[in-house]
């Protein structure tokens, strides 16, 4: 099973690759909406990509109020 740190790192790597941002520019406590410049459609796209990558279901309401990568990783870790 993945550790929390592995999950966090995979999220950062996936976000950097997909939204074409240098990995080193993303930090665990960054606001991903701001750092990645996400609109509502891109937010859904990120959610779908994370679900496919981790093979989980992540209901939208679990992400309500979540805006940093670290908390996102915690939500995902809880479903692995």
């Amino acid at each position: 099973m993945r550790s929390s740190n592995q999950t966090l790192e995979e999220i950062l790597t996936l976000a950097a690759a997909h939204f074409k941002v240098a990995r080193e520019k993303l930090a665990p406590d960054d606001d991903f909406f701001r750092t990645l410049g996400l609109n509502s459609l891109q937010t859904l796209e990120l959610l779908t990509r994370l679900e496919h990558h981790f093979r989980i279901e992540l209901p939208d309401y679990e992400l309500q109020g979540v805006s940093d990568f670290r908390t996102l990783a915690e939500r995902i870790q809880a479903r692995l």
């Binding site: 909406f33 459609l41 937010t43 859904l44 796209e45 779908t48 496919h52 209901p59 939208d60 309401y61």
Partner: protein
């Protein structure tokens, strides 16, 4: 046949396959313009059915299949009217969209929705009238209407009940959560999940296969296995109109229409 190019949708017939493309920016919201053009399409489909064996509905926009009813237009128009007029306008709109949906649902052609990205609300309901849903792995399905104090109004609940198990219907409606194509395939909504950007190609390959079959047999099979729940569809319009009259709906629509947040679909 000449291709018909509308502002919101376009259609044409090639080699026995009618293709309806959705292309109204930003994400195929279904408002009055789209409804007008869908009505014209349905009238044309009636004439094309003798020359065709399949219909494919797809979106040519990157964002997805359709974000559903045009809630911003609905909010704007409702504000310009008094409550009685607004309610009458909503009922008229629902009656018209139901006629369109029912006509596609009952078409003797085999109908395929090729979906990707956002397939929400009325867009989801448009996919549900089709016989087969072929989804790109990035497709995402949702009925967010309860978040606005409403139920789906384009025939979604009766068709979900027809096609899926009741537990998943309750999950979709009562939580308002969205789910991906993998889940949609697991519950039996999506018949084929394909790689990103491949749903239209696979839909065309499927339509090509269908032309090998005798049309009378395909139509008879469809009549037998795909009942249209007309009575429940009528009830849905009544329930939607009752709910639409509640003050909470106006507040919900305003919140959505005026939102600049990244997740306006969340309450």
């Amino acid at each position: 046949m000449k291709k018909v190019e509308g502002q919101a949708v376009s259609w044409g017939l090639t080699d026995g396959v009618v293709e309806l493309a959705l292309h109204r920016e930003p994400c195929n919201e279904i408002g009055l313009l789209t409804l007008d053009e869908l009505e014209r399409f349905v009238a044309a489909l009636e004439k094309l059915k003798g020359e065709a064996h399949a219909l494919i509905i797809y979106s040519s926009l990157d964002c997805g299949f359709s974000a559903g009813a045009d809630l911003k237009e609905l909010f704007r128009i409702s504000r310009e009217m008094d409550r009685v007029e607004a309610l009458k306008g909503v009922r008229d709109y629902l009656e018209r969209i139901h006629r369109v949906m029912n006509a596609i649902d009952a078409s003797p052609l085999t109908t395929i929705a090729a979906v990707h990205g956002v397939t929400f609300g009325g867009g989801f309901e448009l996919a549900l009238v089709c016989d087969l849903i072929i989804a790109d792995k990035m497709a995402r399905f949702c009925f967010p209407e309860l978040r606005l104090g409403l139920i789906p109004g384009f025939g979604g609940i009766p068709r979900l009940k027809r096609d899926l198990g009741n537990a998943i219907v309750r999950d979709l409606l009562l939580t308002g959560r969205s789910f991906n194509a993998t889940k949609a395939q697991q519950v039996g909504l999506v018949c084929q999940m394909v790689a990103e950007g491949e749903s239209l190609r696979v839909a065309r390959a499927t339509a090509d296969q269908l032309k090998k079959f005798d049309r009378r047999a395909s139509t008879a099979a469809k009549d037998f296995i795909k009942p249209i729940p007309y009575e429940e569809l009528r009830r849905e319009i009544e329930i939607f109109c009752e709910l639409f009259a509640q003050p909470a709906v106006e507040a919900g629509l305003r919140r959505f229409a005026e939102s600049t947040e990244a997740q306006p679909y969340l309450p």
